[in-house]
Subunit: 116 residues, 2 copies
DNA sequence: TTTGATACATAAGAGTTTTAGGTATATTTG
DNA sequence: CAAATATACCTAAAACTCTTATGTATCAAA
C-alpha cells in the first residue's frame, strides 16, 4: 500500500543523499529499486521526479557521476561529494527532529505503531 | 530554529484536521499560534498557505464555519465535520506509518533523538 | 516474438507553498 | 497620544516539486 504522494514531497533529496552515503555509488534505476525494497513498496520513486533531481543535485555540487556500459546499455553512477556528505548528515538530522516535532504535534504514540 | 519549508510540505491538512479534532473549534490565526506554541516555533504556518487551504477544506466538506464578532473584528471559526473526523484519523495514521517507514529508510535511532 | 524488466531522459500540467501585497481593528509602549 | 506591534481576515503572482505522459533503446524470459 503506497503512501499518498504529498507525504513524500520534500523528502526525495534526503533519501538520495542518505542512500548514496551508505552505498558509495548507485545509478538512478537502482535507487528506485532500493527504496522500493527498503520500504516494502510503500515508497516508489517515479523516474520523472528522480532524474531531474539527480541532475540538479549534480549541478549543485552535491553529487558527481561516472558513466559505465553494461553491454550496450548505459548506466550513470552517482556518488556524494564531500559537500554532499555534510548535507546528508544535516538533512537526515533535520528530518529526525522534524519527525519528533510532528509526533508531539499529532500526539502519535510510537508504541502502538506496527507497520507491516 | 525553523525547519526548512520543504519538510512541512504535505503536512498542512493533517495538522489542521488534528488540531480541530482536539480543540472543537479554532480560527485561522489561532491555528498559526497554536502550532507555533506546540512546536516551540519550529513550524510557523504562513497565512498565504493556511487560508486558501482552509477554504478548500471547507468546500470539500471537511470543515464548517461560523463567524463571530469580537468588538468590530471578525473571527471565522472552523470545526471538523463527521467526514473531517474520519479523514483526520486516516491522515494521522498514515503519517505515523510514513514516519516509521522513513525512520527505517534513513536509519534514524530514536533513542538518540533529543529535540529541545 | 512479444511482454516485461532494465535504463536513461524530457516536458506539460497539477498541486502546494512562498512571497508580497492589501485592509482593518485593538493593544501596548515610548 | 502617536507609533509600533499584535490581531485577524484575504488574494494573487511566482516558485518549486512532483505526477503523468511520452520517447528511446537494450536485454531476458515466456
Amino acid at each position: 500500500m503506497l503512501y499518498s504522494s504529498e507525504l513524500i514531497k520534500g523528502t526525495l533529496r534526503t533519501i538520495i543523499l542518505k542512500l548514496l552515503c551508505d552505498e558509495q555509488k548507485m545509478y538512478g534505476y537502482e535507487i528506485t529499486q532500493k527504496v522500493k525494497d527498503l520500504t516494502k513498496s510503500r515508497i516508489q520513486l517515479t523516474e520523472g521526479a528522480l532524474y531531474p533531481t539527480l541532475h540538479a543535485m549534480e549541478s549543485e555540487g552535491l553529487l558527481s557521476t561516472e558513466t559505465e556500459y553494461i553491454g550496450k546499455r548505459v548506466r550513470k553512477y552517482y556518488s556524494v561529494s564531500k559537500t554532499g556528505k555534510a548535507k546528508a548528515a544535516e538533512k537526515v538530522n533535520e528530518f529526525a527532529e522534524f519527525m519528533e516535532t510532528m509526533r508531539v504535534l499529532l500526539n502519535i504514540d510510537l508504541k502502538t505503531l506496527n507497520v507491516q
